[in-house]
């Protein structure tokens, strides 16, 4: 998936978990926990959204890559490429 598509996916997923967070006004380095104040449950719900929307099961081992908005977008973009190979 293109970075744009990944970003759109992240935008939609984030809306469900933190409706007040607008991905377009936040830098990629925005931390989900520290800046957006997502707790572990919010984060788990975000991962659920991302998994459902991308059609990929995101494993807990990958959580370290999902600490920032930019990290999530990069991860999503990379996931698809890996699956295509």
């Amino acid at each position: 998936m293109t970075p744009d598509k990944a970003r759109e996916l992240m935008r939609d997923a984030l809306r469900q978990v933190a409706p007040d967070a607008d991905i377009d006004t936040l830098p990629p380095s925005t931390s989900l926990r520290d800046d957006l104040e997502l707790d572990s449950l919010d984060f788990e719900n975000l991962v659920t959204q991302l998994s459902e929307r991308s059609g990929h099961r995101i494993d807990e081992d990958d959580y370290p890559m999902l600490t920032t908005i930019g990290g999530c977008v990069d991860y999503l973009a990379g996931l698809d490429e890996a699956a295509l190979r």
Partner: protein, 467 residues
């Protein structure tokens, strides 16, 4: 012919509640209700909640009008027992813009809970400047739904932004024109914000009206093409900050009152223990590989499970201090404080938590917390906690000395899971450990009892197969 009647009173939705404001009735005289049906929306200092009926009946007379604040226990309506002949003419509004067949049949089987739309209705009405008492409800049993509020807003407000929303472009279903008229500014705004194409939304309101919930459901579904933005301005949102600030202040006061009472009345004693949860975490991780993503077990659930087991075994900490003596509870209802986005705290309870296995408990916890954050709790879910578990590990602290929620007699505090050098069987290694505290009421129990409780809790945590 003489009907037996009973009163529906302002319920107590927590120990810190003295009075409540009736926000709206979801029923009206003549409506038949079953035990468990949501009949009213009540606002307390902390939240807006849907309140269920506690037995079957027919609404006879409404005593308290929406907007009125009454003390806990005050009668709000009278109900007749089922079978009693109560005939009340069903008023029809003069203008009915959605002339869909007005079947009197309920939209969902009775007994099944109504859609969780109640608490938001008042807020929506406030946003749109709608007087709820003047709104005709089209929901089950005449319940006022969002669509009704929006419809009322569209009818009463000739302001440019709020009325005659543009219809979705593209092919319309046969009832398209009608449906378009039944999409409110709020649902439209929501659709815009969430990037939902209204033309593709299946309305579940009466006459196919699109409700805010439908828009949310569509947004949660796999994304379709995003709708083109139609309205950049959102005049309705202007009132929000005021209401939010007012609520935050009221919530602060409610917490202040309850916690002051706790520290004034309860002689707390505190115990702590540090538990090696390495095995438990590995076990959860293993389980999570097989579970659907949405049902993954969070470590927080494991602490709930361990507490539920301990509270079941050491019953002296599970119950209430009432009138000078301890009253043990018959089941373990775990109070779980949930932080709300935008500040504030709400503490719903997981009923009969000791009967739930870890995976079920994990799902319940997640579901309850998610609804708490969305402001969709039921009144009954805020009452009845017999012991509370507060988990501040997410916030980075290692240790919590909590304050007991009266009239409960114990509170478990969970800190952050940290990796530490740790001796196991005489060998030093790096293990994941967590510090668990117990705050207990010394009137109800002694330190030895508390120690036994923490010991049971800790042993279960370190032996995940017990969970």
């Amino acid at each position: 012919m003489a009907a037996e009647t009973f009163e529906f009173t302002m319920p107590s939705l927590g120990a810190d509640m003295d009075e409540g404001k009736l926000v709206e009735w979801l029923v009206k005289p003549g409506d038949k209700v079953a035990k468990g049906d949501i009949v009213a929306v009540v606002e307390t200092a902390k939240a807006i909640m849907e309140v269920e009926c506690f037995r079957d009946g027919v609404v006879q007379q409404v005593i308290v009008e929406p907007g009125t604040t009454v003390p806990v226990g005050a009668p709000m309506a009278t109900f007749a027992t089922v079978g009693a002949p109560v005939v009340v003419p069903r008023p029809e509004p003069a203008v009915t813009p959605a002339p869909a067949p007005r079947a009197p049949a309920p939209e969902r089987p009775s007994g099944q809970p109504a859609a969780p739309s109640g608490p938001l209705i008042r807020r929506l009405a406030a946003e749109l400047g709608v007087d709820l008492s003047a709104v005709h409800g089209t929901g089950r049993g005449g319940a006022i739904k969002r669509a009704d509020v929006r419809q009322a807003a569209a009818e009463q407000a000739p302001t440019p932004a709020a009325t005659t929303p543009p219809r979705p472009s593209g092919p319309s279903p046969p009832s398209g024109a009608e449906r378009a008229a039944r999409v409110s500014p709020y649902a439209r705004e929501l659709a815009e914000r969430l990037g939902v194409d209204l033309g593709a939304v299946q309305g579940t309101g009466r006459g196919g009206a699109i409700r805010a919930d439908d828009v949310r459901a569509a947004a949660a579904a796999p994304p379709r093409e995003a709708a083109a933005p139609e309205r950049p301005d959102r005049p309705a949102a202007a009132q929000e900050p005021d209401a939010a600030a007012r609520r935050a202040e009221a919530a602060r006061l409610a917490t202040a009152k309850l916690m002051a009472r706790s520290k004034r009345e309860i002689p707390h004693y505190y115990l702590r223990t540090t538990v090696d949860v390495t095995d438990a975490l590995a076990w959860i991780k293993e389980r999570n590989r097989e579970l659907p993503v949405g049902e993954r077990i969070l470590p927080a659930a494991m602490f709930l499970r361990a507490t539920a087991i301990a509270a079941g075994q050491v019953s002296a900490l599970n119950g209430f201090w009432e009138d000078g003596h301890f009253v043990p509870a018959t089941s373990v209802n775990l109070g779980v404080p949930v932080s709300l986005r935008g500040g504030g705290l709400i503490t719903p309870a997981i009923a009969d938590a000791a009967a739930l296995k870890l995976p079920e408990l994990a799902v319940r916890m997640r579901e309850l917390a998610t609804r708490a954050k969305a402001g969709r709790l039921r009144g009954s879910e805020l009452t009845g906690a017999t012991i509370t578990v507060t988990n501040l590990g997410d916030l980075g602290v290692e240790l919590v000395y909590g304050v007991i929620y009266p009239p409960q007699v114990a509170l478990v505090g969970v800190g952050r899971i940290v990796d530490r050098p740790w001796a196991v069987d005489g060998l030093l290694g790096v293990r994941s450990v967590v510090t668990v505290t117990l705050s207990a009421d010394h009137r109800a129990s002694d330190g030895a009892t508390g120690a036994r409780f923490l010991d049971v809790l800790g042993r279960n945590l370190s032996q995940p197969e017990n969970l």
